[in-house]
């Protein structure tokens, strides 16, 4: 996820600018991330402290002179370097006041741009393609400069990188509609030329941005038809001479009509690019927008309308975008997060769980008052937190980094202290969700590194927020399993929306194999089994005055009456003792309730041992008898599995282990019972099918009788 924050105006643009020309030459990084050097097209160079929106120093060339290339800051000496009138080099410091009196050197050729590198000498790119380091140039200002580019070849864009302590300069040129790319290496001086190729008639590249990653330069190029192409420029090209660079389409912007004219592109981190001057969708009309696109998913992440129209100038420096529009230079901070499907999923899950938990089970009359109280408490909490919301929101972004720092080195108790304020306020925002994931990942790292460190309560709190997902903190579930923290495991099963089937199976395996005695100490949420602790307790309910009798084997159509009561009771009696302990059943219920996809689950289910399968089947059968024994299709309790979920698991287990079960002598009784049950079900449905016609006739009977024009009735008055 990426977002654009509220922007602010750094400075106004000089008067006299036209629609095409903003009057701004460029913005270069200053002393630190909070300082920028703004070079106006006229005569001024101004250093701003961005957070204060305040100029710290300003220098202007004499009347009649014009600054021709953006001033840069010399990374080593802290001096500013600028060129005016194309050939006159000026170097000055913060203390210098009069621009006329600072160091001046006149060069023999026209300078295109100066690129500064943090730890090296700045590089001077001449208009004809030659590149010099500043110190070398200053040694002999009037030295001859070779012409690299052919006639009519114009430099459109340039950028420099530092690779293995060696500066690199990348610049693109255009000559009669054809585009070329030059990669200039210094020490030794090597120049590579690439042909980008054209994109058809009238379509030309209008914006470039490049990043260096893994010894490879990724160049992104925005064409006037709205396409963004990616070109990979190797630092160590194999072949000599002019090469053709293959390009791949990254993104096609929805350019409604015509072509883009004033647009610029800047690459941000994590597969995001910022584009100014291109509309976010085809229907936005004539307005100009600043957009952040995700190149991995080709999705628009954020957009902001730029009032007054943009000039197609965009700079990116230290987490802020600088864009000229209207009559101002606006600074817009942004934030890019790695996009993941889980983040989106987690967001959806949030709403659904809220709904589920806040609807009390009406069937369970006994627990209803408590439930109501709990509900009130919960809503009360929620309103309180929402009251906190605006305040906490503001402090949140600043504190998250602090929190992340803090939890790295402190003890378990201190972790709780640190996180307490953070967790107690829970604003509903995607940002908060990401922050939570960050914290969880950080904690996981520590737990893995330090086996003694296990902040159980904090992890439980994190899981309980319901904002975490498996994909946002992958090791979380396995950690719970590893530490045999069944409470945490249960919480995760309840709250994570995207648990992989493999993990579900691992949990199931662990739950089945755990000895009941081990669970005595563990606190497990027993809500799912609230009314199941007493196996003898009857759940018989009467709905519409009808209590269904399970259709038994012998109560077939041949002799519908009387059903053999002893047989039918044997079906229920046999399995009415719960094969597992209370806490274990609670854990297993969470498994049964968890979501899964059959085809993914099936291979993992095969890992279960025969004993485990039989135990689980027995439990499922017990559940089934309990829930089918009364008229309700759901067992009481908030998180009890539904009858459909139970049946699905029975089918899955049988599918996965049928051969084993048939062979195992101890499973024989179980299988016959299941078989008998299926037969009774089949019979029930066939009986229903037989009377279908009769039932349909019932529906056709008209409820209202026509009242005629005359009738005789008897009434009683007294």
């Amino acid at each position: 996820m990426a977002e654009l924050y509220e922007g602010f105006t750094l400075c106004g643009l000089a008067a006299g600018q036209s629609r095409e020309n903003s009057g701004l030459l460029g913005i270069e990084p200053g002393r630190d991330t909070d300082h920028v050097i703004v070079t106006g097209a006229g005569r001024t160079v101004t250093v701003y402290k961005v957070s204060d929106q305040k100029p710290l120093g300003s220098w202007a060339a004499k009347q009649g002179q014009a600054v021709t290339c953006p001033a840069v800051r010399h990374g080593q000496t802290g001096e500013y370097v600028a060129v005016h009138d194309s050939k006159v080099l000026r170097i000055w410091r913060d203390e210098d006041i009069n621009f006329e009196k600072v160091f001046k050197a006149t060069l023999s050729a026209t300078v295109s741009r100066i690129h500064a590198l943090p730890s090296l000498e700045p590089l001077v790119l001449f208009q004809r393609g030659a590149v010099r380091q500043l110190d070398a140039l200053l040694a002999a200002p009037q030295q001859a400069v070779e012409e690299v580019l052919s006639e009519e070849e114009v430099i459109r864009w340039s950028s420099c990188f530092l690779e293995a302590e060696q500066p690199l300069l990348l610049f693109s040129t255009e000559k009669s509609g054809e585009c070329f790319l030059y990669l200039q290496k210094l020490n030794p001086n090597v120049l590579h030329k690439y042909n980008i190729g054209s994109e058809g008639k009238g379509v030309c590249p209008i914006g470039f941005t490049a990043t260096l990653e893994n010894k490879c330069i990724t160049l992104m190029c925005l064409y006037s038809n709205g396409c963004v192409y990616k070109l990979l420029v190797s630092l160590h090209p194999s072949a000599e001479g002019e090469q053709h660079l293959p390009k791949s389409l990254l993104l096609k912007l929805p350019v409604s009509e015509g072509v883009l004219r004033r647009a610029a592109i800047a690459s941000l981190e994590e597969g995001h690019i910022a584009i100014v001057g291109a509309p976010p969708s085809a229907s936005t009309g004539d307005r100009d927008f600043l957009c952040i696109w995700n190149t991995n998913f080709q999705t628009l992440q954020a957009s902001k309308e730029l009032p007054g129209g943009a000039y197609g100038q965009l700079w990116c420096n230290a987490g802020k975008l600088y864009v000229t529009h209207g009559k101002v230079l606006t600074v817009i901070p942004y934030r890019c997060e790695k996009s993941s499907l889980a983040a989106a999923l987690g967001k959806l899950k949030q709403t659904s769980t809220q709904e589920v938990t806040s609807s009390p089970s009406v069937l369970n009359w006994n627990s209803f008052p408590d439930e109501e109280a709990a509900l009130q408490q919960r809503t009360g909490m929620r309103t309180r937190s929402s009251k906190l919301n605006p305040k906490s929101q503001a402090t949140l972004t600043t504190s998250i980094n602090q929190v992340l720092e803090d939890i790295k080195g402190v003890s378990r108790e201190e972790v709780e202290e640190v996180l307490e304020p953070f967790l107690s306020c829970s604003p509903i925002s995607p940002q908060f969700q990401l922050d939570l994931a960050h914290i969880a990942v950080e904690l996981l790292k520590r737990c893995q590194a330090d086996p003694g460190f296990y902040p159980q309560s904090v992890l439980a709190r994190l899981a309980q927020t319901g904002r975490l997902s498996h994909s946002s903190c992958p090791g979380f579930l396995m950690l719970a399993l590893e530490k045999r923290d069944y409470f945490l495991a249960q919480l995760c099963l309840q709250h994570f929306p995207d648990i992989p089937e493999a993990v579900v199976c691992a949990f199931l395996k662990a739950f089945l194999s755990v000895v009941d005695a081990d669970l005595v100490q563990v606190s497990v949420d027993l809500e799912g089994v609230s009314l199941m602790d007493d196996p003898g307790q009857s759940l018989e309910g009467v709905q519409n005055g009808f209590s269904p009798v399970l259709l038994e084997e012998d109560s077939c159509d041949v002799q519908l009456t009387p059903p053999k009561l002893d047989q039918s009771s044997s079906w229920t009696d046999v399995s009415l003792t719960c094969p597992v302990g209370l806490k274990k059943s609670a854990l297993l219920n969470e498994i049964i309730r968890s979501s899964y996809s059959e085809s993914f689950l099936l291979p993992h289910l095969k890992d279960l041992s025969a004993q485990q399968v039989i135990l689980f089947l027995q439990y499922l059968q017990y559940l089934y008898v309990r829930s089918s024994g009364d008229v309700y299709t759901q067992l009481p309790g908030l998180r009890a599995p539904t009858i459909t979920q139970i049946m699905d698991w029975v089918s899955l287990l049988l599918d996965a282990h049928f051969a084993v079960l048939v062979m195992a002598p101890e499973a024989k009784g179980l299988l016959t019972q299941l078989h008998r049950f299926v037969r009774s079900q089949v019979r029930l449905y066939s009986e229903l099918g037989k009377i279908q016609g009769t039932l349909q006739e019932l529906g056709k009977i008209k409820k209202e009788q026509e009242i005629g024009l005359y009738s005789i009735e008897v009434i009683e008055l007294f």
Binding site: S711, I712, L717, F718
Partner: protein, 706 residues
């Protein structure tokens, strides 16, 4: 009271006529209303909205405009080109006058009530001078092209606004010239080739003209400059009616969609002196064209093709919660259109143009309460008697024995003798009626069918003796007071000694038929009696008034009975006071003499005079609760009032079946309830849905994307 077998009759195919126009007289607090069939009704708003007078219609009359002059002169004008003034005491037209301008579309009276203006088909506006006993043509204003559909006088009486096709003209009354011509915009594109009919204009005293037209617009114009001030588009169809309140701070407009829209003169911001006409409320009580709207001090009154008169209270104007604050819909007349011959089980239905005589069906079986019995003998329509002449029937009656039928129009009375031997029915008109009988307001046979009482002009009552051979005028009773108000109710005692008459001045006179003298007059109560009957045994006169009060008067003692005084002191039960429609019929239970049965359009109730009146605080025992009580409890909890209501108030937990039984009992408006012999009850119902199904289809309205 026991079990009854009920004839539930739904074959009385009564269809009220649509409302065409109305005029409210604020001085008299009466509303005059004209229907499409030419009948005129007068509602007394200060007397519980009682339908005080009905002037029967006529085939030759069609009314387009109705107008009050003073408190007691009523004029109508119609498409037959005639202006009619009515005699409100004889309830018939006083005189008619041809305006000689073709069909008259509209009429308006100036504020000084000296002149009438009529808008005619030929494009002329005719001025008539109002004289004390007649109106007289004065002159024409400049004749224009196109019919005049609407007229309105300015308060000063010097200007008249006239709406026509596509144009509104302002006339100077003195010169007769048109001084302003305002073009009205036609409807939206696509309807441009259709004339814009200015159905209504209203001239406000600040020289603003309000118009309503067929393009669905209510527009405000400056009459001096002829410029448009404001347009309110209120309907996709026509704005058919418009009314300005007396103090000119509110306008109501009725549309073809059945909506009534109110505009109020308000200042847009609080404290601002400048005011504008702002659309404020929309009422939707009609399904069809709202042809007439008017505004009283406290309510918006509207009527239209769906035949109902709706009185919708404006809650901001109603000060206390009273009968005024209730929405009223008047659909059925406040008098009985059904008469019943008890012995032979015959019902006579009165329609404007015919009478229908039905014999009720029968059954052989007996059943338990709540059961519907199989009908073995079907009801039979014995007779359909079409009236003669143009005038509509105003009253009719059938004798107790079923051998005599009489009806009257404004011009004649007809008496028929009926012979009914098994399946052979023969009817003979009594040809020689006494000369005194010209028309009747009310007709009544004596209990033994030997006499016919005819309530005639000047509040006189003629007594006619009937025999097979001849009819003879016996006597004419005249009220002592000399009142000339029309008699609208007659009641004769079963023993043939007493006759009572009620007239529209609230006087109830008692005459002695044996001595042929005026016996006494019941003290005048300030509300019109809506029903009365003489008890067969005690000869007490029981009266129900339009304001829902019930009195009992002892004819012999010439004073109110103790029961009546007690009733007045204790008051009626509060449930009883929820009734809004007047009681239209009173009858006595022949098998239990203390029981009186009354009914109105929505429920009937039984009063047992022997039982104590329940105190006001006591829980009202509806039909249902005593049933649930044990037999022993019952008498003590019994209440003098029993009620059968359209919908039972559901008290506490009732079983499903009982609720269904009672809502199904009499869910439809009751036109007549009467007790026959042998514990038979006849109930004549008229489901509203049957009336709606006979109306033409309403204008098409887009609903939910259809």
């Amino acid at each position: 009271m026991g079990e009854f077998k009920v004839h539930r009759v739904r074959f009385f195919d009564y269809m009220p006529s649509g409302i065409r126009c109305m005029a409210f007289n604020s001085k008299a607090d009466r509303l005059a209303l004209a229907r499409l069939n030419g009948s005129v009704e007068i509602f007394n708003f200060s007397n519980n909205y009682f339908q005080e007078k009905v002037i029967p219609g006529s085939d030759s009359r069609s009314i387009e405009a109705i107008c009050w002059v003073g408190c007691d002169r009523l004029f109508t004008a119609g498409l037959n080109g005639e202006v009619v003034e009515y005699d409100l005491e004889r309830l018939c037209p006083k005189y008619t006058l041809d305006a000689f301008g073709g069909p008259i579309w509209t009429a308006a009276c100036n504020s000084a009530e000296t002149h009438f203006a009529f808008g005619c088909e030929d494009g002329s506006v005719k001025l008539f001078e109002i004289l004390p006993d007649k109106i007289q043509f004065e002159r024409n204003l400049d004749r224009q092209k196109g019919r005049i559909l609407s007229l309105s006088w300015h308060k000063s009486g010097t200007l008249i606004a006239a709406g026509s096709l596509d144009v509104i003209r302002v006339f100077d009354v003195k010169s007769g010239h048109s001084v302003q011509r305002i073009l009205v915009d036609r409807g939206p594109a696509g309807t441009r080739n259709k004339d814009c009919v200015v159905w209504n204009v209203a001239f406000l005293s600040d020289y603003t003209i309000v118009s309503g037209d067929s393009a669905g617009k209510v527009q405000l114009w400056d009459a001096n400059k002829g410029t448009l001030i404001k347009t309110h588009l209120v309907s996709k169809w026509d704005v058919l009616s418009l009314s300005v309140s007396e103090n000119e701070d509110s306008i109501v407009a009725g549309t073809s969609e059945g909506t009534v829209i109110q505009f109020q003169l308000l200042s847009p911001t609080i404290g601002d002196a400048e005011t504008q006409w702002i659309r404020t409320r929309t009422f939707k009580h009609h399904t069809h064209d709202v042809r007439a709207v008017t505004e009283t001090k406290t309510a918006v009154v509207s009527g239209g093709l769906d035949t109902q008169l709706v009185i919708c209270p404006l809650m901001d104007k109603v000060e206390v919660k009273s009968s005024e604050s209730v929405l009223r819909k008047v659909i059925f007349p406040h008098r009985s259109l059904v008469s019943c011959a008890k012995k032979p089980s015959l019902l006579l239905f009165q329609f404007p143009d015919q009478l229908e005589l039905w014999r009720l069906g029968g059954t052989d079986t007996v059943g338990k309460p709540g059961e519907s019995l199989p009908v073995t003998r079907k009801p039979e329509k014995l007779l359909q008697l079409k009236r003669k002449g143009d005038d509509h029937i105003c009253c009719s009656t059938i004798s107790e024995c079923g051998h005599w039928i009489a009806y009257s129009t404004v011009s004649s009375i007809r008496l028929y003798q009926l012979q009914c031997d098994n399946n052979n029915i023969s009817i003979t008109k009594v040809s020689k009626l006494p000369k005194v009988l010209r028309s009747a307001h009310q007709l009544q046979f004596s209990a033994d069918s030997s006499k016919l009482f005819v309530a005639s002009e000047q509040a006189t009552i003629h007594v006619i003796s009937l025999s097979r051979s001849e009819c003879k005028h016996v006597h004419t009773f005249k009220p002592k007071s000399g009142s000339s108000a029309p008699v609208h109710l007659l009641a004769a005692s079963a023993d043939g000694q007493w006759l009572t008459s009620a007239n529209r001045h609230c006087e109830i006179n008692v005459y002695n038929l044996k001595k042929l003298t005026h016996h006494c007059m019941v003290p005048v109560y300030n509300s019109l009696p809506s029903a009365m009957a003489i008890h067969p045994e005690t000869s007490n006169l029981l009266m129900a008034h339009a304001d829902q009060q019930v009195f009992e008067f002892s004819i012999v003692d010439k004073q109110y009975t103790d029961w009546s005084r007690k009733l007045q002191k204790e008051g009626l039960h509060r449930c009883r006071s929820k009734w809004h429609t007047p009681i239209t019929h009173i009858t006595f239970n022949p098998s239990a003499s203390s029981q009186v049965m009354l009914h109105d359009t929505h429920m009937f109730c039984i009063i047992d005079q022997r039982l104590p009146l329940v105190d006001l605080q006591a829980q009202f025992y509806s039909q249902l609760t005593p049933k649930d009580m044990s037999e022993t409890d019952r008498p003590s909890k019994n209440n003098a009032f029993k009620m059968c209501k359209k919908y039972q108030i559901v008290l506490g937990s009732l079983t499903l079946i009982l609720t269904l039984y009672f809502t199904a009992l009499f869910p439809w408006p009751l036109l007549h309830v009467n007790l026959l012999e042998d514990d038979w009850l006849v109930v004549v119902e008229r489901p509203l849905i049957d009336i709606h199904s006979q109306l033409p289809a309403p204008v098409r309205q887009k609903k939910f994307g259809t």
